[in-house]
Amino acid sequence: MSRLGRLQAESRAASRAFLRRRTAVFFTFFFPLIIVVIFGVLVQTRPGGGGLFTREPAYYLPGYLAVVVLFTPLSRVGSEVARHRDGNRFEKLATTPLTRPEWLLAQTLVNTVIIGLAGLVLLGLMVVLTGAEIVVSPLLVPFVVLGVVLFCGVGAMLGSLASSQDGVISASNGIALPLLFLSETFVPPELLPAWFPTWLSPLTYFSRGVRSVSTGSGDLVVPLVVLSVCAVVSFGVGAALLPRTD
């Protein structure tokens, strides 16, 4: 069995547990729909060209994708870690061959699949509801995957550091919301003060990368490299912070 078997066992259990929590499933897929409807359909662009969404619809794809790639891992992995701590499951796992990085990798795999699907739903909605012309290319996949790995790592950190499950949820929202609007997703940099360091947020590289893929223009390499480094660091720190007892 060894590592692959362990990963398989952990992923299967994690996905089953997720799929049987109907509310979690519903909101994971319903959430992107609400966002697209609100930002893509309800919020109109003023004829004079002012207002929030002045850029062409395709510009906001990273924003919509970021919603799923950012919020879902943070809250899901964060609350999963908190649940494991409440049930003393890490103490149990510490006496099995499964290592903490393997545990986090399995959670990340499950979240990558879930978010991949939610992302596809999102793409479809965007094209249908907002008429965005998007260059759909496989190059989107590495960015989504790296984003998910990155924020699963952050979610693991939150779950390990916060004292309780609702501590995790509020922490993840507290981080995700500001990050979402300050990483060149819905708010183009020119609308922010010049000095504002959007480059500090890892999500910015996700936005830039996705945008260059979906619009066919712009640099791909730097965002990909930076996002990869951030993802690896975040995964490492997240796994290391996972407790051995409670």
Partner: protein
């Protein structure tokens, strides 16, 4: 008899609270060793030190190696107040933990051993307290461990569930599985264990077979008189024996069976009402009381007892 588990002068503190204050013990293959003590006595910390899930000073060896170096397949752990995924079925849970090991026993065989064959496809959250605990024991048995560690396995479940779990553990002991179990139910330790370690404030105050402990420290037999008693009542009784009041119950030490009648007469003479008279052999609870001065209450909270001596000495 090979030493499965050796601990020498194990110490662990959390900040300035000392959880373990130099505990030494060992367990041989096939033995059932129980660690007993109220909440906060250091049971869970000791279990974590022994399984290597927490660092501790002092020497700890499992099968001759450091706990963290031991092959994971050899240990089966049921942590304290352990709650697995509630939305998985009993079979799915046991299969999940089986998947974490290279070689394991057959899932359905283990489910049968713990008596869950016909509820194997019920979600964990819909099982009874006893069934849930037996599922958890099954997850600790799936890798056929040489050492089974159970941290308060019967806490918080109904008496019937506890009874069924004891029978399960007795069966495992008979098959030669080495078991380390912590509990705050004295009766459980006395029934299950070959040897019992009494823990108080991070120290092991005694470690021996239950019968020996009771014989050495249990003290005399006791007559428990159920009713509403207090200090004044104890003084009023003119009977040459040590008496004490424990949560409203009068306890008289060293009463021979033939003198129960005379005690009853004395109580009538003084006009004390009571509901029942129980003659009791000393048990582990009394040993713990003797050695630590505190009882291990129902909920496992340490309880000081009111002691007054009336009349002659014991």
């Amino acid at each position: 008899m090979s030493e499965v588990l050796v601990a020498e002068d194990v110490r662990r503190s959390y900040g300035d609270t000392v959880a373990l204050d130099g505990v030494s013990l060992s367990a041989t293959a096939g033995e059932v060793l129980a660690l007993v003590g109220p909440n906060g006595a250091g049971k869970t910390t000791l279990v974590r030190a022994l399984t290597g899930t927490t660092d501790a000073d002092g020497r700890v060896e499992l099968f001759g190696e450091a706990p963290t170096a031991v092959d994971r397949d050899r240990i089966g752990l049921l942590p304290q107040s352990f709650t697995p995924h509630e939305r998985l079925t009993a079979r799915e849970l046991v299969a999940y933990y089986a998947g974490l090991y290279d070689e394991t026993r057959d899932v359905d065989a283990v489910l049968a051993d713990v008596g869950l064959s016909d509820t194997a496809d019920t979600h964990y959250e819909n099982l009874s307290g006893g069934q849930q605990r037996r599922t958890c024991v099954a997850t600790a048995l799936i890798n056929d461990p040489d050492l089974l560690v159970l941290d308060e396995p019967t806490t918080g479940i109904d008496p019937a569930g506890r009874q069924s779990l004891w029978e399960l553990l007795e069966g495992l002991a008979e098959q030669g599985v080495t078991i380390l179990v912590t509990t705050h139910y004295m009766e459980e330790a006395q029934r299950l264990a070959d040897r019992v370690g009494l823990l108080a404030e991070g120290r092991l105050v005694a470690l021996d077979a239950p019968e020996t402990l009771v014989a050495d420290h249990g003290g005399a037999s006791q007559l428990h008189i159920d009713g509403e008693f207090d200090e004044a009542a104890v003084d009023a009784i003119d009977y040459p024996a040590e008496m004490t009041v424990r949560n409203g119950r009068l306890v008289i030490y060293g009463v021979r069976p033939e003198s129960i009648g005379s005690v009853a007469d004395e109580l009538d003479a003084v006009g004390l009402r009571y509901d029942s008279l129980t003659w009791k052999q000393p048990a582990l609870e009394d040993v713990y009381l003797e050695l630590t001065g505190t009882g291990v209450g129902r909920a496992g909270e340490p309880k000081a007892t009111v002691t007054a001596t009336a009349g002659g000495s014991r």
